[in-house]
Symmetry: D2
Subunit: 148 residues, 4 copies
């Protein structure tokens, strides 16, 4: 995967003891907590913070998560979490995350898939301004033939 | 503190990697999660489970917690959590917890204090049957003179 | 996916407040903690507990996790976690987990993939008795032609 | 308690869904994780980060924690964590924390007490430069008589 998308949106996180387990590395489930914080900041950055959306009746439960662990992250390391979208429809969102150490070493790649629902967990189409604000963040991959 | 109350209500917990941090011991905040599970089982045992109480409009937010850490607990150890009440009024609950290893070694002593409130977090008197069911679990300490 | 493997190894878990988030459902990362507890009990059940293996210099870091969230689980629900293996080599382990409510409703399907390493995180072949003990737990799927 | 010490060292934290539980408030144990992050930044600020100290053989396990919960904190709120010391000897450290919302509302007061030990958890005197660097952060309370 190219590093290019990392420059699109970046969130920074400092690893705590609370996140580590025996052997001095971040426990594998804690990354999902860290990614959630990154997505929250991303949504704020695009002008639609999740708290506001929730108060308007839109929530984004996770329906799928795929995590590939490349290298351990250690206590007190600074992690850079890069974000881009790989799916965007009025009902669904797919988010790609890359977690890297300060020196660029890839720690984790992860995709989370979300549906847009009401607080009662019924599918609900995202507001149009939200879809528009998210569209520029969809990762565009060059077609193999380089055509267009 | 006497061991006596341990025999009143006991909950058992097996330590996971998720709960441990660097140096192979349970991270200090995870005990509060373990104690919550123990209180939930205690309430079920006395016939008033927290889920039922919540559906009837009674919740028990923590207003104070005091934890004294005596010995570390390690991965895969079985912990016994003993519970007793040290305060009981229609509006307040004080719970004493002792966490011990299988060999009896004291790991943690903790007190949590709770108020009874509505889901909107307004103080609300506990139902009388609940107070009655909890009363036998209040820890009675002999007065120094041995009198009544 | 057939329910059959659920009968092979089953771990039970009661949902706590600590595991839930806003909207009364288990937060998506907490399932990984619950699955870890289930795997720990599974390994003990097959006669090779992880603590013993760790003391002998074998650990099993997660290199990949895939979670598909089907239905939310709520506070105080009892969850049954069924386990089976889908990959077994001296260096790698793939574990399939199904989480169901007491009434059989599927909550979560998850696969975690692990490597066997030394405590210094160097690949290390599992002891033969461990591989033998795990073999019967590998999920065998009938080939489409029904041949062999 | 006076607000004065808040100006001594301040750490900022944004509340995530991972930290919240049913009823939209931060789960009571998660504050200890947040306080740990604040202490880590405080130690870095005074020039002795915990990671460096650990590599030199000094760790600071928690032996006591007292938390008083004043007001709930909600999803996405920004919390200010103010820190000061209330005990400092070569072997022990007492840290007072105040957590406030952006508008100054007091959310939590907490004290954690730590011992300085070797990685094998044997008591060990802190390095003198560390004690000197920490001394200015000890909270000085005016004596009632206003004397010396």
């Amino acid at each position: 995967m190219s590093d290019a998308f990392l420059h699109r949106f970046l969130h920074r996180h400092r690893v705590t003891y609370a996140e580590c387990t025996i052997g001095n590395h971040v426990y594998h489930s804690r990354y999902l907590d860290i990614l959630e914080a990154a997505r929250g900041e991303f949504m704020r950055h695009v002008g639609h913070d999740l708290n506001q959306l929730q108060s308007e009746g839109f929530i984004f439960p996770v329906i799928e998560a795929r995590l590939t662990y490349h290298r351990p992250a250690r206590y007190d390391e600074v992690l850079d979490i890069g974000l881009a979208l790989i799916e965007l429809t009025p009902l669904r969102l797919g988010v790609l995350h890359e977690v890297r150490r300060a020196d660029g070493t890839l720690v984790l790649e992860a995709v989370t898939r979300h549906v847009c629902t009401s607080p009662e967990e019924k599918p609900r189409r995202m507001p149009k301004p939200l879809v528009s604000a998210l569209r520029p963040w969809v990762l565009v991959t060059a077609s193999p033939e380089g055509s267009e």
